[in-house]
Symmetry: C2
Subunit: 238 residues, 2 copies
Amino acid sequence: MQFFYHPDLVSHPVFELLPDEARHCLKALRKHAGDEISITDGCGRLATAQILSTEPPTRCVVQLLKVDHQHALRPHRFHLAIAPTKNADRIEWLVEKSIEIGIEQISFLRCEHSERTNLDLTRLQRLAIAAIKQSNTCLIPEMQLIDFSNFIDSPAIQSIHHRYIAWCADDLPRIEFALQPLQGQDAMLLIGPEGDFSPTEVQLALQQGFTAVSLGPRRLRTETAGLYGVCVYAGMQV
Amino acid sequence: MQFFYHPDLVSHPVFELLPDEARHCLKALRKHAGDEISITDGCGRLATAQILSTEPPTRCVVQLLKVDHQHALRPHRFHLAIAPTKNADRIEWLVEKSIEIGIEQISFLRCEHSERTNLDLTRLQRLAIAAIKQSNTCLIPEMQLIDFSNFIDSPAIQSIHHRYIAWCADDLPRIEFALQPLQGQDAMLLIGPEGDFSPTEVQLALQQGFTAVSLGPRRLRTETAGLYGVCVYAGMQV
């Protein structure tokens, strides 16, 4: 089954697919009026719709038949907060793979030691749309780019009981992320840039109730650490 | 600390670095006679060596000072047996990330539904050398390309008590891989090609004592499924 994307499945029962989606539907998949297709809005909804009329290659009017408002969403949320890598490809790879395995929120942190402080969120959003279509999931994670100091002070993070900071320095006792009792629990994991979090950032996080964790015996690259966290959390939810 | 690679740390205490390694050592890192460097053989050994003499850019003679024969090896082995993806990049990515997180053996399976039946193992070996140097680990996983039928009949797999086949079909009861008691245990995980294992292949595996497992609620791409297995196993070993 092929999912299509449309940002709004709530306002109108009859609408036109976006031009690129229509092209994919009519040209690549050769759908016709009368055919049924599946459409997600990336916010958890999955609709069954019928094609009413077409004007190839880019016009395709559909009518919603039914909408599942919580399609295969996980009951609990994983929020990854991670410093973007110097190489943008590696963050794009992380976004794609995380969506495939399961993630609800990604905050990209501007840290003291960050080598990259800008990020093309529009491009990441496009990648995320492609990723949910490819993996037949319905949730585009919320994504933001934010300074570490603003992030760590935001009230929203206080509501998550299980919040962790992965940190490479060896001078602080740390527990293993993979051993935390996170089944059925929301969780947040912070991962620093190539040069790691600064001591000030670590102190701020600890003051805000974060627990320092290790991601195993090896020093992983930033994006690998992120995906390890995503996989281990997903494994705990089965 | 930067690791260098040399395939033989056993036969001779004094030897020349490979030309590419010497270039990296002398030109990029500007090492000189008298400096100490770390060298791995990709078989688990890590040596401290002293540079005796140099002829930049490609000649660098070193003398071993001490050799750790089991550097940071995991006490237990994870063997991933996976059908190569149509797109070779995705398998290369899997090899690189798996080495970073931890893997001891990779068998690339030629399956009935395989879209790719050839594989450049020499190139993968080069990639693996780069990956161990990058991630400061000392083990290049054993890698082979093998027909599914030969693999499943090989006596070696019988010695691994925990052997699993990940399979997407829904008509067989499956248990969750992430819930298996694999801490301190060797394990083997089979992952099929884009078109999944054939029913015959699944039957053969079950006859050979493999247990059918699920890798969570989502249908993952082949290489994502592989890395999920690698991460979950690594998380169980901490």
